[in-house]
Assembly symmetry: C2
Homo-oligomer: 354 residues x 2
DNA sequence: TTGTAGGCGTTATCAG
DNA sequence: CTGATAACGCCTACAA
């Protein structure tokens, strides 16, 4: 059998529905129905069409289909590419979307490609709704675009963001779990490193404060300005380890916690002996054996399912009211937290020990 | 001024080009040209159209545009969501694409959404070409789809993958840099942990072998089957640390290196005193201060630029021959490699020390 | 069960 | 410089 050496892509255009219909000897309308599996065409017709499609290696043109359909069944997703939490969520979104007969198209948010740009792109491309995954710091653009197309955020959103529904973990509860975990281990001197200026950061901060008060530790509340990166954690540690160091620290997220832990160890503190560290998110990094960070997990599957369910509701009734769903977080006890030994807050001279 | 309390999205459909043209008092064809900024319309007409578009809050329908244009100027990108190397590359792709007037749409590859599925989706959605980022293990689907649409892989591809061009680091050179670095530090007992069955893994293995021979270390060549994850690194370490442990190890990538390093430390080896560890990719994880892994970096910007340049060439001439570009890697010396002390290969009883 | 025809919103071609 | 008009490929009444 001979095969073409050059695939002459440029010469023979892709076969269209009309070609398939012609080969099958039916009209293109019928062929369309047969291909989509809706009922109407007879069994015989369906077979003919499928055979023709197979023979011609027919591939539908999704763009044309999108334009013609009234319900494109296409959802836009914006996410960051370097956050494994987002990756897990998107993975679950794919599963749910497939189950519900929806297609997903992704607009990535990167340093050079803003959330705004992703949203515009998705809105222009016939998406029926947009699911924005991750900490949406310039949330204004979510509100803005939500007047054109339903938007649901996975991640906390201020209540006054009109039109944008959200699905996220209960940030306050997450911090309460962390505080209670440490209290149970005997800690009282527990400080919190914030995640900067975002909304979920302020929620977690509030949750920490409430939990501390709930544990009768009003006087011990100590808040350090931080951020969502490892570097922010490093800088925060340099602050809270000066003077009277706490025996435990709860960071806004895992990255920040890892940074703080790194710096603490570098300064001679042993984790968890001298300092217990708790992160948040249960990121991939937190699970690295060498890090093995105690953290508060987000249930990715729950978030994805709820997000999709609610997004479809928004599509059906665009005027339905904004909703908010708080998923229950869970404490994951790993090796960076331990009992309070109460043996002083001075760093050891020896860097680390088992 | 009154504002609608409910954004009645469902009631008023988005304004179309025709609406804009009507308001501006011109034909839709003219309006289209004015909006796109091509020359033809008079300055006055252009202003009228722009004003009308502004007033109606007109947003073009990208789907319709895609269908009508002969050159959609749309590129599909497949990538993994949890690999920060890919994230960096995509970031640079966005920059280059914008510069060249192309739009990017992303199809993510996740555990539940195969590369195949992403490719099909992108091909069906009027992309002019697809750039596949990352280690494409089931590369067959790249070849298959390349008969329908130009495909360029960022990452090594076997030579017999017809139709698929590739842009990637020089894997063999990368391993040579690692070997030479270690040799310069006095190491001779250098083993390599592979990345599993992929093509770039076999290239790196070969590169390691060649470099070892080049350094006169034929007898010292020692290869351990590994993988691309931290877990694989852990398992590999359990193997190569049994019996006579090497003084240095080069892993397929950073994740694998980190796993191996973790396990080595857990078993009582000090890094880099007892064991030097080199990764590959210069991933975000490798830069974490607490890990600070010596590695071989990939120039993300170079990869992205070359990929885009070559992709456009493929689009212009689909019958042009497959090309391969090897980007120069660079050794990043961090703190997991050090001089060979030659003080025996037995693990210390003390876990670690400064 | 099947064919026909009109439309989705743009772009592109051609006369005027 | 401008305005009809025909694609683009598919979906979907509606009619047969």
């Amino acid at each position: 059998m001979f095969m073409a050496t050059h695939s002459s892509r440029s010469r023979i255009p892709h076969p269209t529905l009309k070609d398939v219909a012609a080969l099958a000897g039916v009209s293109s309308g019928l062929a369309s129905m047969a291909l989509r599996g809706v009922n109407g065409p007879s069994e015989n017709t369906r077979r003919m069409v499928l055979a023709a499609a197979e023979e011609l290696q027919y591939r539908g043109n999704a763009t044309a289909s999108l334009l013609a359909r009234e319900h494109p069944r296409l959802l836009g997703v914006t996410c960051f590419l370097d956050r494994d939490l987002d990756a897990d969520i998107v993975d679950h979104l794919y599963v749910e979307a497939e189950r519900l007969g929806y297609e997903l198209v992704i607009g990535a948010t990167t340093p050079s490609h803003s959330l705004q740009a992703s949203l515009e792109m998705l809105a222009a491309n016939s998406c029926e709704a947009i699911i924005a995954v991750g900490p949406q710091n310039p949330e204004e653009c979510l509100s803005k675009i939500s007047s054109r197309i339903p938007v649901l955020a996975i991640g906390a959103i201020p209540e006054n963001r009109q039109g944008v529904s959200s699905v996220h973990i209960d940030d306050r509860l997450a911090m309460k779990l962390a505080v209670d975990h440490l209290v149970k281990l005997g800690h009282t001197d527990i400080c919190h490193v914030t995640g900067g200026s975002g909304y979920s950061s302020s929620e977690r901060k509030t949750g920490y404060e409430i939990a501390m008060r709930g544990a009768g530790l009003d006087k011990e509340i100590r808040i350090i300005e931080g951020g969502q990166t490892e570097e922010a954690g490093v800088e925060a540690a340099q602050v809270f380890l000066l003077g009277s160091a706490p025996t435990a620290v709860i960071a806004y997220n895992d990255a920040c916690a890892i940074g703080a832990m790194t710096e603490a160890r570098k300064l001679g503190y042993s984790v968890p002996d001298d300092l217990s560290v708790v992160g948040c998110d249960d990121s991939r990094a937190s699970r690295i054996a060498y890090i093995d960070l105690t953290t508060v997990s987000q249930d990715r599957e729950d978030l994805a399912c709820q997000a999709l369910r609610r997004t479809l509701t928004l599509i059906k009734d665009p005027n339905s009211t904004r909703t908010e769903y708080k998923s229950a977080p869970q404490l994951i006890h790993r090796s960076t937290t331990g009992p309070q030994h109460n043996r002083g807050k001075q760093p050891n001279s020896c860097a680390s020990r088992e």
